[in-house]
């Protein structure tokens, strides 16, 4: 159940979260009218149909979106500069930061959040950012990790029942709106912390958590694209 793969459509998989302050050069090139940005394919697991949809010969580098801790710089820089020192893992008071497993390929071993296990609680002082010496977690980048989406057909409140778990526990004010008891993610406010997914008691988890597709480069200047 930790993997929402069963409950989500391919479109959901591809939609992802685009960071609001997206630099123009990150707009992915398109080919053959493909509706998909090329740098998002593999979350949360590789699926055979997607392998076919995005053949292995693609000339574009594919980055697996990872739900990074808050304040993470753009992914290439993150991968290059993160020293895997575990300082953030140890600093997190909620044990929410874990090592990315092998299936994340080159990101394996880097810090990430597995919300079903323990979500980011959006601490006021972000001890993980404080602890990060290489500065790949920085308070110069807004703490937006991704975004959540509520699947109405799976949500108990949307299906005629009563449930208020997600919006009661959401740590970000205004990130989940409620109308007549039915919750809706406010994408402009949601930080993708994953608390809603963690607490969702629906028979099949009704929250899909999308890591940020892109994040701003480090504002400190070391933004040279490793490619």
């Amino acid at each position: 159940m930790n993997e929402p793969a069963d409950g989500i459509s391919r479109r959901d998989l591809l939609r992802g979260r685009l960071f609001p302050a997206k630099p123009a050069e990150l707009t992915p090139p398109t080919q053959n009218d493909s509706p998909a940005p090329e740098n998002v394919i593999r979350y949360p697991t590789s699926r055979p149909d997607l392998e076919r949809a995005a053949p292995a010969v693609t000339p574009f580098r594919r980055t697996i979106p990872v739900l990074r801790p808050p304040g993470a710089v753009d992914e290439p820089t993150f991968l290059r500069d993160c020293t895997r020192c575990d300082a953030c893992v140890e600093a997190c008071p909620h044990d929410a930061i874990v090592h990315a497993p092998e299936r994340f390929r080159e990101a394996a071993g880097t810090p990430m959040i597995d919300a079903m296990r323990s979500p980011c609680r959006m601490c006021e002082d972000f001890p993980c950012i404080d602890a990060c010496e290489p500065g790949v977690l920085t308070d110069l980048v807004p703490p937006v990790m991704g975004t959540a989406q509520i699947k109405h057909q799976l949500c108990i409140a949307h299906q005629g029942g009563f449930c208020s778990a997600c919006w009661e526990r959401c740590p970000v004010e205004g990130a989940i709106g409620v109308e007549q008891g039915k919750p809706e993610i406010v994408e402009s406010a949601c930080t993708g912390c994953g608390v809603c997914q963690h607490v969702c008691p629906a028979p099949t988890n009704a929250v899909v958590l999308m890591p940020a597709l892109s994040r701003p480069p480090s504002p400190t200047g070391s933004t040279e694209d490793p490619e």
Binding site: M1, D6, G7, Q153, L154, I156, Q159, G160, G161, F162, C163, S164, A165, E168, G181, H198, V199, C200, P201, A202, P203, T204
Partner: protein, 803 residues
């Protein structure tokens, strides 16, 4: 993927299908069309019906079983109660069986440890304890006993041992509803049914939070609204809840304010001459408690006396007592004065866990009777229950210290004779003296024999008193260190109760055994065993029968009937006795069916007639009285005492209260004087403390806290308080604080602006969390008639920690 994961995956996938189709279907034709449809077969999953294990609503689920495991749960579309919908707990009910720490072997205490013993040894230990002092032995059961389980325990105690020390946890839960119904109608249980929720124009919730506690029922009402129907919802409560959000009107009352409000409505109806004179004149009498030694019969008063006694409860006076505006009292009275409206009142623990529980129950019935809002679909005073068989087992089988099956009581010689006759017992076997009710049973148990404690051994089945009794330091924890006391606990998981157990018996639960439940609307519901219990776990009913047989082997004459036959003799088709006391033979026959058929004879004694067992196998439950029609069809009853539906109302009568306490077909409209709560906040303890449940967890959470989804959604208990109170005490949201009362102390985190919002001066703590036992703090004061404790109000203080 391991086998376990595969099962869970299948389970969740199927449950997802259920969720996706979970809109309430209100079209009855549709419900009929799908009557015997189970969800489509998938990958070898076999489906069967069962009522949900959790609350008293009585939703039916379809249980999917594969390779001897429950792998899927779906809402049962053919069920009239829930029409396919389930609540967040119901969707996960199958996982309640599969917590990692199921008890699988009988365990005997040895110092601080437990040693595994055989079942044979365990039964011997119990027989030893009973044999030592049969009159000092007690059974403490619950509204989660199936009907046959409760019936067997009842028969063992009252019929076998001549011992009336058997009481259920329902004493903590709906005893005041029982006394309210009996005092008013002479017979227990609601006259109406859930159809009232589909037909009412006004729904008044008296201290009730159905959005969390009975969500499927509440969605029946909310669904009507979403279809454009107008329903006025009024919430009378001591705190804002999830229910309040759906109500047009919210009346925030002071604790015990409900008593004043009900009196105020009656006062206004009479003063304005707007009560239903014709209904009252033909069908009601007036009653008040005797000044000395008051009973449920009370003494008759005239209408004029009623009028003069109630005169002082003017809207202004009520406003003072209850803290709601005087105009709100007038407004409620105007609603009741309007006979064109259909008004349903709902209540549960708010009115029952109340030191004036019997009084407020009778007063709300009185409001409905006085105004004539009774007996038409949608016009009903209806109490809800929190346990799946509080009605079916406790109230109907009568597993209470004073009762016998079929609405009989031990104090009545004729009643005892009837029971002895049905049970085939020698005359005089049943003890005429009522046993100890819950609070006094545990008080006797926790008092050393040398200091006069009269109970030495308690056998607990299907409940968790170590968490639910009020004032735990006095009524439970005090057992510790008392050498002569012995606690036997039949359980499925380690609990607060097994902590102090001397003998733990592993039990089968829910679909690991056959069962019959009876829900809040008089609906009797049957299911079959679908999977085997884990390890050596066995049915509670078998445990009771095995002990009875062991006692008989040892020569206890009480275990034989007047013909010298075993009390629980069950025969096969050839008339041969089946040795059901041997586990290997317990399922050679359907013991549930045999006990149920025997029990049916009792149900006819008080017009609570049940159909044969096999009729319940075929249906999704039927509401009693169920009466056979000339054509051989069994017909259920939706509206009791109403001529158009109740078969026991004489032809041509519109109403007949045929169990009237006055023997004249009339219901009683009671007068009770308002009295303040037994403990009110003062300088030392300035807060009101109330307790209750939450949506995600059922009762003490022993099942739901082992379901990962529910546990993540609601991991631990908390204290709700008003933002202004928190600011005044420099307390922040999420901070851990201590609450203290004259009984005890408890530390827990604060939740401000969360699930419920108490007014200033009130705090609320849910009781599901065994790591934060709020009953260390609560008060054991109880209602004088029902003996039900008041968990909803006591005085407490809030202490900031570390400062």
């Amino acid at each position: 993927m391991t086998r376990v994961e595969a099962d869970r995956r299948t389970f969740m996938k199927s449950a997802a299908m259920a969720a996706a189709s979970a809109a309430v279907v209100r079209d009855r034709t549709f419900a009929l069309q799908v009557l015997d449809d189970a969800p489509a077969e998938q990958s070898g999953v076999r489906w069967a019906k069962a009522p949900c294990r959790f609350c008293g609503t009585g939703c039916h689920v379809q249980v999917g079983v594969e390779n001897g495991r429950v792998v899927a749960i779906a809402g049962d579309q053919a069920a009239d109660v829930n029409k396919g919908l389930l609540c967040v707990k119901g969707y996960h009910v199958g996982l309640a069986l599969y917590g990692e720490d199921r008890l699988t072997r009988p365990l005997l205490r040895s110092g601080d440890r437990f040693v595994p013993i055989t079942w044979d040894q365990a039964i011997d230990v119990i027989a030893d304890r009973v044999g030592m002092a049969p009159e000092r032995f007690a059974i403490y059961g619950s509204g989660q006993w199936t009907i046959p389980e409760g019936y067997a325990a009842q028969k063992l105690m009252k019929g076998g041992l001549g011992n009336n020390h058997i009481d259920p946890n329902a004493r903590l839960c709906m005893a005041s509803a029982v006394t309210g119904f009996i005092a008013t109608y002479g017979v227990d249980e609601p006259a109406g049914c859930y159809q009232d929720l589909d037909e009412c124009d006004v729904l008044i919730m008296w201290g009730n939070n159905p959005a969390e506690m009975h969500p499927v029922l509440f969605s029946r009402v909310i669904d009507r609204r979403s279809q454009g129907e107008e329903v006025l919802l009024i919430d009378i409560s001591t705190r804002r809840t999830r229910t309040t959000e759906h109500c047009q009107e919210y009346l925030e009352m002071k604790p015990h304010g409900d008593v004043a409000i009900a009196l105020g409505i009656c006062q206004q109806l009479i003063e304005r001459g707007e009560y239903d004179e014709s209904f009252v004149g033909r069908h009601c009498s007036f009653r008040a408690p005797q000044a000395e030694n008051p009973t449920l019969l009370g003494e008759p008063i005239t209408f004029d006396e009623f009028k003069s006694r109630i005169a002082k409860y003017t809207p202004e006076h009520v406003s003072e007592l209850a803290g709601i505006p005087a105009d709100s009292v007038r407004r409620l009275a105007s609603l009741f004065a309007d006979r064109s409206l259909r008004i349903t009142s709902l209540w549960c623990m708010g009115m029952n866990q109340h030191t004036m529980g019997t009084a407020i129950n009778t007063l709300v019935h009185g409001v409905h009777l006085l105004s004539g809002h009774f007996g038409r679909p949608g016009d009903a005073p209806t109490s809800l229950t929190g346990q799946p068989s509080a009605c079916g087992t406790v109230r109907e089988v009568g597993t209470l210290a004073h009762a016998l099956p079929g609405g009989r009581v031990v104090a009545n010689a004729e009643h005892r004779r009837q029971c002895e006759e049905i049970w085939g017992l020698p005359e005089g076997r049943i003890n005429p003296k009522p046993g100890f009710h819950t609070v006094s049973m545990w008080e006797q148990f926790c008092t050393p024999a040398s200091a006069g404690g009269e109970i030495d051994t308690i056998w607990v089945q299907v409940t968790n008193p170590g968490q639910t009794l009020p004032n735990l330091p006095k009524l439970f924890d005090a057992k510790k260190g008392l050498e002569e006391k012995f606690l036997i606990v039949s359980e499925v998981y380690p609990t607060a109760t097994t902590q102090l157990a001397d003998l733990i018996l592993p039990s089968a639960m829910w679909v690991e055994k056959n069962g019959v439940f009876g829900n809040s609307e008089r609906r009797t519901q049957q299911w079959f065993k679908m999977v085997d219990p884990p390890g050596d776990a066995r049915d509670d009913c078998w445990q009771t029968i095995a002990v009875a047989h062991r006692l008989m082997e040892r020569g206890h004459e009480g275990m034989r009937d007047a013909n010298g036959r075993f009390l629980f003799r069950v025969e096969d088709d050839a008339g041969q006795e089946v040795p059901i006391w041997e586990w290997d033979h317990y399922y050679d026959v359907n013991v549930d069916r045999a006990l149920f058929e025997e029990y049916r004879a009792f149900t006819r004694l008080k017009h609570k007639n049940l159909a044969p067992y096999d009729e319940y196998v075929r249906s999704r439950g039927m509401r009693w009285p169920v009466v056979e029609q000339p054509e051989g069809v069994w017909r259920e009853t939706r509206f009791r005492f109403a001529g158009f539906d109740d078969p026991f109302v004489p032809e041509g009568e519109d109403f007949d209260f045929y169990h009237s306490t006055t023997g004249d077909g009339r219901a009683q409209i009671w007068f009770h004087e308002y009295t303040p709560p037994p403990e009110v906040p003062d300088d030392d303890y300035p807060f009101w403390l109330s307790t209750g449940r939450v949506l995600e967890h059922w009762h003490t959470g022993t099942m739901t806290r082992r379901i990962p989804q529910l546990s993540r959604a609601m991991p631990s208990a908390y204290v709700e308080m008003h933002r202004a109170d928190a600011e005044a005490l420099d307390i922040h949201d999420g901070e851990t604080i201590a609450i203290e009362s004259r009984r005890g102390r408890l530390e827990l985190p604060v939740w401000i602006g969360g699930r419920g919002m108490p007014p200033m001066g009130t705090i609320f703590v849910p009781f599901f969390d065994e790591s934060k036992l709020v009953n260390l703090v609560t008060l054991d004061a109880h209602d004088p008639f029902s003996k039900q404790p008041d968990f909803k109000k006591c005085a407490a203080r809030v202490v900031k920690m570390g400062g």
